[in-house]
């Protein structure tokens, strides 16, 4: 580092090329004397000591020339390519000096350069902040590769730049200052000093200034304490990170690809915890504290309830049917024994129907916001410009997974990278093999056949589900509560879970015979087929529940169709869990035995990330579908996810090995969260909205029993409020015209679509600009090559032009020694 810095000091002194002929002539004898081979590095070091002890200009110039020569000869070694004008064996010293003092080569990540670059950045940030209220993406505008270049600064300028940086940092708000500090590539000691300077003078300034009134000082202290409190909360939340050690073990052995599955599981867990807390606090606890005065036949608890969700569980807080349509008294005010009527004006009553409606609505809305936010953040990080070239470099620099720690996994990774590099090389060498027409048609035919098989099986399964559900419920509706009937209820979930288990395996088998251009295309096709299967099966089931069962509930002699649908969803979730467990515990183990004994492969099976993630998404869709009918379903899902984590991890450790191909973890994570948002959450939200807006709730149970449609509970509540307090008429107006009127929703959706369209256009434009800039950089490179060769040619001409002048100077220089 020091060596660089002093060299750059020297080079900074060499300003104008006009002086070069003076220096040039004094160097030539030295150059001719010294050998054309590599100088030993310690020679240069020794001379450097001399230079630092106050050597004269000429010594330092000699030093720079020698070091230039070293660099130049290093350059010469590598540049044995034909036709590369920059790879000449021997540049003249002047050319080398010019080359070395070019701005792009004197970046040096030395402290001075970084400080000056960051003071530029913060100045720009400050300017932008003053002109615009919101700052976004400042880091992208001031990329170190495009701006902020400066030659290495000497100590006085460095101090000035540092002063400027500290001033700029002070003017930024605390959050941005922290972000700026963290992103600086300086060492910790320097950063903490900058921070101290930036914070202390601000505090001192604000505290010592007598003009600051007592109120603003109080405000200042409040803000400081709030920030500290927030810091404590954030660190507490971060410390709650569950499974840190487990995740580290998994990533240490299997890499980031498999880790992404477990991280996705963790994300889903947090979503469910949120849903559970919201539901629990606003729905379950008030209702459980005030049990409705119904009398049901005492059904005893038999073990089958856990599987079917029926029997004892039917009349508990778990299902929709338990909830009253009246208001509850809150515990403090339980002086009145009876439940109040809904148009009572007591302020401490808790209106259950309204709470139910709004809780579910708000929970879905917040989940939507969080999903869209994480999806967009994920997109931003995984944004890349598709280019066919550049794969080899990316493979060399970006394919090593630093989080892999175990020796055997590291060895495996080395082998994988080696194989991939060899493959890429052979591809690059041979070029694209021209496929004959026949071969291409053959491939096309195989693809068509495979797709036909997959689609046919999907449609077949969907129809099977449809007919089975019809047979089970419409033709022979379950009447009695006998064991046989309860067991019949389990038939549909078992069939659907087996479909979900077996058919993806079938798709994988079919995909074996197909030939794909790249492994990522294969993965995408597999995901798409699996997704199509799940969507069609779920769609069929939703039709069955929301249209058939809800519509014909009297015909089916169902007292409470919502509870029934809730129980169905509970059963589905549970069966899905049981089947996944069985598959993991036995399936993977058996497959490992099979592949090792029968197929005689030395390697263990690979963990199928895509399939497992899609199973998780399927489970989450069921949970979201069922939240309206079973407020406690998130709790079931939480237990399921917790158990699944440990079981999957154990099975992984025992039976699987790290994947062979590079799994593009970031892109796949983006894809998964998009799939979670779009088919999964959107479908669930649409079903719930359809239920609330269109379907008539059952008349004998649930919080909406006396309403024609579920959403009218909100309207009724607003009307009550209006009746109670005439100043709130605007609220009912808002409700009528904004929430009920579909026009508003259409307009909102239209605006949203327009904004999305504009953003995509902006992104397209940026892509084009990036391509143009890349071309420009290449042109600049060509220009640079051209100029350097011209420079060298000019020197050579000059050198050959005046040999006599050199001879006379020789004697002068030899006298110098």
């Amino acid at each position: 580092m020091d060596r660089d810095r002093s060299l750059h000091h020297i080079e900074a002194a060499l300003e104008s090329p006009a002086e070069e002929h003076v220096h040039h002539s004094s160097f030539s004898p030295l150059m001719e004397e010294s050998s054309p081979g590599l100088e030993e590095p310690h020679d240069a070091v020794e001379m450097e000591v001399l230079a630092e002890e106050g050597g004269g200009d000429e010594q330092t110039e000699v030093l720079s020339a020698l070091v230039d020569r070293r660099r130049g000869s290093v350059q010469g070694h590598e540049g044995s390519r034909q036709g590369n004008p920059l790879a000449r064996e021997r540049w003249s010293s002047a050319t080398q000096r010019v080359l070395c003092s070019m701005p792009s080569r004197t970046i040096g990540r030395g402290q001075g350069a970084v400080i000056s670059q960051y003071s530029d950045r913060t100045t720009q940030l400050r300017r932008r902040r003053l002109s615009q209220p919101s700052i976004r993406d400042y880091s992208r505008s001031a990329r170190p590769s495009i701006r902020g270049y400066r030659m290495e600064v000497d100590p006085e300028e460095e101090a000035k730049e540092r002063e400027k940086l500290v001033n700029n940092l002070q003017s930024l708000p605390a959050g941005e200052r922290m972000r700026m500090l963290r992103a600086m590539p300086l060492r910790m000691a320097e950063k903490s000093e900058l921070r101290k300077l930036a914070c202390s003078s601000k505090v001192r300034r604000s505290l010592s200034s007598t003009e600051i009134s007592c109120c603003s000082r109080l405000k200042f202290y409040t803000i400081i304490s709030l920030q500290q409190g927030w810091g404590i909360v954030v660190s507490f939340l971060q410390s709650l990170q569950p499974w840190q050690v487990a995740l580290k073990t998994v990533s240490g052995r299997f890499g980031t690809g498999v880790l992404s599955y477990f991280l996705f599981l963790k994300t889903l867990l947090f979503f469910n915890v949120f849903l559970f807390c919201v539901n629990g606090f606003f729905l379950v606890i008030p209702q459980a504290a005030n049990p409705p005065p119904y009398d049901y036949a005492n059904v005893s608890f038999s073990g089958l309830e856990l599987l079917t969700g029926g029997g004892y569980f039917t009349d508990t807080v778990m299902f929709y049917g338990y909830y009253t349509n009246d208001s509850c008294q809150l515990p403090e005010n339980s002086t009145n024994g009876t439940a109040n009527q809904s148009n009572c004006t007591q302020h401490t009553s808790y209106n259950i129907p309204v709470a139910y409606f709004f809780t579910i609505g708000v929970a879905f809305f917040v989940t939507c916001v969080i999903l869209v936010y994480s999806m967009s953040k994920s997109f931003a990080q995984s944004f890349r410009i598709e280019k066919s070239r550049g794969n080899l470099t990316v493979k060399v620099f970006c394919s090593w997974d630093f989080s892999v720690l175990k020796k055997s996994s590291v060895k495996l990774q080395t082998e994988n990278i080696r194989t991939q590099l060899k493959e890429l090389l052979s591809e690059v060498n041979c070029g694209k093999v021209e496929k004959s027409l026949l071969r291409r048609l053959e491939r096309m035919a195989v693809h068509v056949l495979a797709w036909a098989m997959c689609l046919a099986s999907t449609v077949g399964c969907a129809l099977a589900v449809f007919h089975l559900s019809k047979h089970l419920f419409e033709d022979h509706p379950p009447v009695s509560m006998s064991l046989k009937d309860e067991a019949r209820l389990l038939a549909l979930p078992v069939v659907v879970s087996s479909i979900n288990l077996l058919l993806p395996g079938f798709f994988n088998t079919v995909a074996w015979m197909e030939e794909y251009d790249s492994p990522s295309v294969r993965t995408y096709v597999a995901i798409f087929r699996n997704l199509l299967l799940k969507v069609s099966v779920l769609g069929m089931l939703c039709y069955h529940w929301l249209v058939k069962i809800a519509g014909d509930s009297e015909k089916l002699k169902l007292k409470c169709w919502e509870s029934f649908v809730g129980q169905e969803l509970y059963r589905f979730l549970l069966m899905d869990f049981i089947f996944t467990m069985l598959d993991t515990l036995f399936g993977e183990f058996l497959w490992k035995l099979f592949s090792q004994r029968v197929l005689r492969r030395k390697r263990k099976p690979v963990f199928d990330i895509a399939r497992n993630v899609l199973d998780l998404i399927y489970g989450q869709t069921l949970t979201w579908l069922g939240v309206l009918f079973t407020p406690l379903l998130p709790a079931v899902q939480i237990i399921k996810l917790l158990l699944l984590f440990y079981v999957k991890k154990a099975s992984l450790m025992m039976n699987c090995q790290a994947p062979r191909r590079l799994w593009r973890a970031r892109q796949m994570s983006t894809l998964f969260i998009t799939l979670l948002c779009f088919p999964s959450f959107l479908g669930a939200a649409v079903s719930v909205t359809y239920t609330m807006w269109t379907i008539e709730p059952s008349k004998t149970c649930g919080p909406f029993r006396d309403l024609p449609k579920m959403f009218q509970s909100g309207k009724r509540w607003v009307e009550e409020l209006e009746a109670a307090n005439s100043r709130l008429t605007w609220l009912s107006w808002v409700y009528t015209y904004l929430l009920e009127n579909p026009i508003f929703l259409f307009i909102a959706a239209g605006v949203f679509l327009i904004i999305t369209y504009f953003h995509t256009q902006v992104v397209d434009g940026q892509r084009k600009i990036i391509a143009l800039l890349q071309e420009q950089i290449e042109n600049e490179g060509q220009d640079k090559k051209f100029l350097i060769t011209k420079l060298q040619a000019a020197h050579e001409r000059k050198q050959s032009f005046s040999p006599r002048r050199l001879e006379s100077r020789d004697s002068e220089v030899s006298g110098m020694d």
Binding site: Q75, A87, R182, R384, V396, F397, F402, L421, K785
Partner: protein, 187 residues
Amino acid sequence: MGNKQTIFTDEQLDAYQDCTFFTRKEILRLHGRYHELAPHLVPMDYTNEPDVKLPLALIVNMPELKENPFRNRIVESFSEDGEGNLSFNDFVDMFSVLSEMAPRELKAIYAFKIYDFNTDNFICKEDLEKTLNKLTREELTSEEVNLVCEKAIEEADLDGDSKLSFADFENMISRAPDFLSTFHLRI
């Protein structure tokens, strides 16, 4: 975990929290890890900022770095003297940059330093060769290594000086969003 720690002053912990991507708890844990590398060298009391540096040989024996082919270069890039002797600040710096919250630009800067074996601010062909040999444990033939290096430089070098400057490197990184997930060490 309720006793007040005496390893760092509150101000020091605040500074660490603001300048790195770690929380107080994680800094204390990092100190624990640093201490267990050399219990007799590393003091438990850092309030007066002792000048203790651990040599390269100790740091690269950590389980997180032991099997990494670039372990020597990683430690050298974060050390002040370039030889791999890390003080606690350097140690924290290293894991902060390699943590999952560090932004891409910061990681790219240090990745460039790591792959630049001769520290001349350029990734020249020799640096690439050394990188490849470390990646593949020298099991590629020398022609293959040569070919890969040439092709890689051809692909990534935008300004035509037959080596990769930081601008070229960063441009190449932008095509690989996985870089953020692979250039990540958990501690």
